[in-house]
């Protein structure tokens, strides 16, 4: 397993109404300058059984279904930074360790004693670019499966709203710069949505409709 050097991440989340997702895509396209990548990820969240120790631990397995050959990633999300300094930062900084794994990972974790806690399917798109930090913006609808592992029969948890996540890997040395880069990027998205730390709810932005309309129109403005 190859481990990345960055063991933390800066993350913010926001919501956007499904009707404005296309406008958001146009905006992101303009801001990021890269092509969007389609996203279809089956996320399986495992919690450890009591035989593995006293501390509850949770591990997420992400299976990228977009490729012809599904690729698996294991991710462990740790606690968030706390304290006065953390409160001043507008993004959430938390430990996160991620690694590519083979497809036996699920079986391995089951053998270790991990149990399935929940699973979800994310369908959407993402942009990856570098703007002060390696930033990834993911816009996806979160779907749940009514039957175990039935990814083909997934239904959205909230049909009218999609989740937007902006993340950037960081390390203990540079998290302030990364946080600044992420928050300054988020300001560009202000007309369409507000982003906040996970767990903090934001509501929708009132200007979203107007901003979306202007983004969707071709050119705009009247000729004199």
């Amino acid at each position: 397993m190859q481990l990345k050097k960055a063991d933390m991440e800066c993350v913010v989340q926001g919501i956007i109404e499904t009707q404005h997702v296309e406008a958001l895509e146009i905006l992101l396209q303009g801001l990021c300058g890269v092509q969007r990548e389609r996203l279809r990820i089956h996320e399986i969240c495992l919690k450890n059984g009591p035989n593995l120790g006293l501390v509850a631990s949770e591990v997420r397995l992400l299976c990228d279904l977009e490729q012809t050959e599904p690729s698996w990633t294991v991710r462990h999300i740790g606690g968030a930074m706390r304290g006065a300094g953390a409160e001043q930062i507008s993004v959430l900084v938390r430990t996160m360790v991620e690694s590519k794994v083979s497809k036996n990972v699920l079986r391995m974790f089951y053998t270790l004693g991990y149990k399935l806690d929940h699973e979800l399917l994310r369908v959407g798109f993402s942009f990856q670019f570098n703007r002060g930090a390696q930033i990834t913006v993911t816009v996806s609808s979160v779907n749940k499966m009514l039957k175990l592992h039935a990814t083909d029969e997934a239904v959205p948890v909230t049909p009218g709203i999609q989740m937007v996540e902006v993340t950037a890997p960081a390390s203990a040395e540079n998290y302030t710069e990364v946080a600044a880069a992420v928050s300054s990027f988020c300001e560009y998205l202000a007309p369409l949505l507000h982003l906040s730390k996970p767990g903090v709810s934001t509501g929708v932005v009132p200007t979203a409709a107007a901003a979306a309309a202007s983004l969707m129109s071709d050119g705009g403005g009247t000729t004199l």
Partner: protein, 532 residues
């Protein structure tokens, strides 16, 4: 008189002009303007000196204020400047040449030519017409341009509103959602955020956790026939790790009832097939590959000792390390003949009652070993399936088991354990002990079940190592049992380096640390917090 003429001259200022001029006000305004400009210049100076980036928004704001003031003053003065003209007082050699230029109202030659050329351009085609028409045409042109400017202004203002940039003059007017809509959206948002971050609303109830029809492609080969999705029985295990609740006897009580509930549940399912997630924790082992000498599953390799020990079949049952405690117990059970199992069970029961704080734990898992390890059949004892989930409790039982067994089978020659223990040097049996483990635990060990029998005395050290193995394998539960036996609080220094320090009066030590909490010792967050 000169003084009078001067006064007269001064009084000659028209009253009206004076009023219009309002000298005092102009003076104060001019002074404040001067101060503002000097402040801005100072700011720029400071920026230049310290090499910091200026805050352009502030500077632009200040500039616009200064601009406004200047315009107002100049406007006022222009109105009253007609009766006045510039009278140079201080003419000397320096400014004698430039003064005429400054005082003249005639444009500079270049400016004059520019002016005439522009005028020609404007009046092209209109030179011949009478002046009145020329004026009219020019007026028309002006009106058109004014209209265009207004339109542009309007578009700008609208765009500003839409993007919430705000205007210089006042706050931005933002459209609002109506309350009902906003509430609905808020509700949806909470659902979504909870689902993504915590998984609420995504957990399937226990009975729906069977794999139905066909698995998707990426999962098709993950599951074999005997395995199933390993999931928690609904509602039970998630209570094990109670998030954010302090460790207290209350929680103990709650879990006791849980134990009993799930115990009865499992009793009902005692004959369950190995397949599905009825009893979660034991489902994940396939048939024990006993013939494999070195595999972690086989009883021959229950600890991290070098291989020479594993080669004789008699040494098959050796001091266990902690892979899984249930497995240990299972393996041990497997090796012991039936009667010994019974004895052991009785001993365990005794141990049970002797243990404090475990409340209403009555029985034990009794695992009758059938060929498949995959399922257990429970004897008529009251089940403590919650026991499975109590890591500590289990290890305590293990301790009890080992104690009981050793004390019981003092003379049993066919007890492979003793044989193995006798032949193994001590050092090899303590590979994983961290330096911090005190030797105190030795003492309570001596108290248990020791008769004057030789084999047992010999094995006092074995008991130590036995116990040590449990701890060295990384099981803080071993620590707990020591504490419990000593009936004291100790902060143990096991492999988890202080993790067990949270244990309080309850020896079963339900660790209620959530993995996202900051006091997990394995994360470097604590260091980071210090840096803040």
């Amino acid at each position: 008189m000169e003084g009078e003429s001067v006064q007269q001259q001064q009084e000659r200022l028209n009253q009206a002009v004076q009023q219009q001029l309002n000298l005092e006000q102009v003076k104060t305004r001019a002074i404040s303007l001067f101060k503002a400009i000097s402040r801005i210049l100072e700011d720029f100076d400071a920026y230049a000196r310290t090499n910091t980036t200026p805050k352009w928004q502030d500077i632009l704001g200040q500039y616009s204020m200064v601009n406004l003031e200047l315009f107002n003053i100049v406007d006022d003065i222009k109105k009253v400047s007609k009766p006045f003209l510039v009278y140079p007082k201080n003419v000397n050699a320096d400014n004698a040449t430039i003064l005429p230029v400054m005082l003249s109202t005639k444009l500079l030659p270049e400016m004059e030519t520019e002016d005439t050329s522009k005028r020609d351009q404007l009046l092209q085609g209109m030179q011949n017409l009478p002046i009145a028409t020329q004026i009219d045409k020019l007026k028309a042109r002006l009106d058109m341009i004014a209209g265009a400017c207004e339109g542009a202004e309007k578009v700008l203002a609208d765009t500003r509103k839409a993007y919430c940039f705000g205007t210089r003059q006042g706050p931005a007017i933002a459209p609002t959602l109506d309350k009902g809509q906003a509430a609905k959206i808020q509700e949806q948002e909470n659902l979504l955020r909870a689902a993504v971050n915590v998984g609420e609303g995504l957990r399937l109830p226990g009975d729906q956790r069977h794999i139905t029809a066909s698995l998707p492609m990426h999962l098709a080969d993950v599951f074999t026939v005997n395995e199933g999705p390993q999931s928690f029985p609904e509602g039970s295990s998630n209570n094990v790790y109670i998030k954010n609740t302090p460790l207290s006897s209350n929680s103990m009580g709650g879990q006791n009832s849980l134990l009993q509930n799930s115990g009865s549940q499992l009793l009902g399912r005692s004959a369950a097939s190995p397949n599905v997630a009825t009893n979660a924790t034991f489902d994940n082992t396939a048939a024990s590959p006993i013939p494999y000498a070195n595999s972690p599953r086989s009883s021959t390799n229950m600890m991290n000792t070098p291989s020479p020990q594993q080669q004789t079949p008699q040494q098959q049952q050796q001091q266990p390390t902690v892979q899984q405690q249930q497995q240990q117990q299972r393996q041990k059970m497997m090796q012991l003949p039936q009667q010994q199992q019974q004895l052991l069970a009785q001993q365990q029961q005794f141990r049970q009652s002797a243990m404090q704080g475990l409340g209403q734990l009555h029985g034990q898992h009794q695992m009758q070993f059938s060929q498949q390890i995959g399922h257990q059949q429970f004897q008529g004892r009251q089940l403590t399936s919650g026991h499975v989930q109590h890591g500590i409790g289990q290890s305590q039982l293990n301790q009890g088991n080992q104690m009981a067994r050793i004390s019981q089978f003092s003379g049993a020659a066919n007890n492979a354990l003793f044989n193995a223990a006798q032949t193994t040097p001590n050092t090899q049996m303590i590979p994983n002990i961290s330096a911090g483990i005190s030797s105190q635990p030795l003492l309570p060990r001596m108290q248990f079940g020791l008769s004057g029998n030789n084999p047992q005395r010999n094995h006092a050290s074995q008991m130590l190592s036995d116990q040590m193995f449990n701890m060295g394998g990384g099981n803080p539960g071993g620590m707990m049992s020591i504490q419990q036996q000593q009936q004291q609080q100790q902060s143990s220094q096991g492999a988890f380096g202080g993790l067990a320090s949270n244990a309080q009066n309850l020896p079963s030590g339900m660790m209620t640390l959530q993995n996202t909490q900051q006091n997990h010792p394995n994360f470097s967050q604590q260091r980071q917090q210090n840096q803040q």
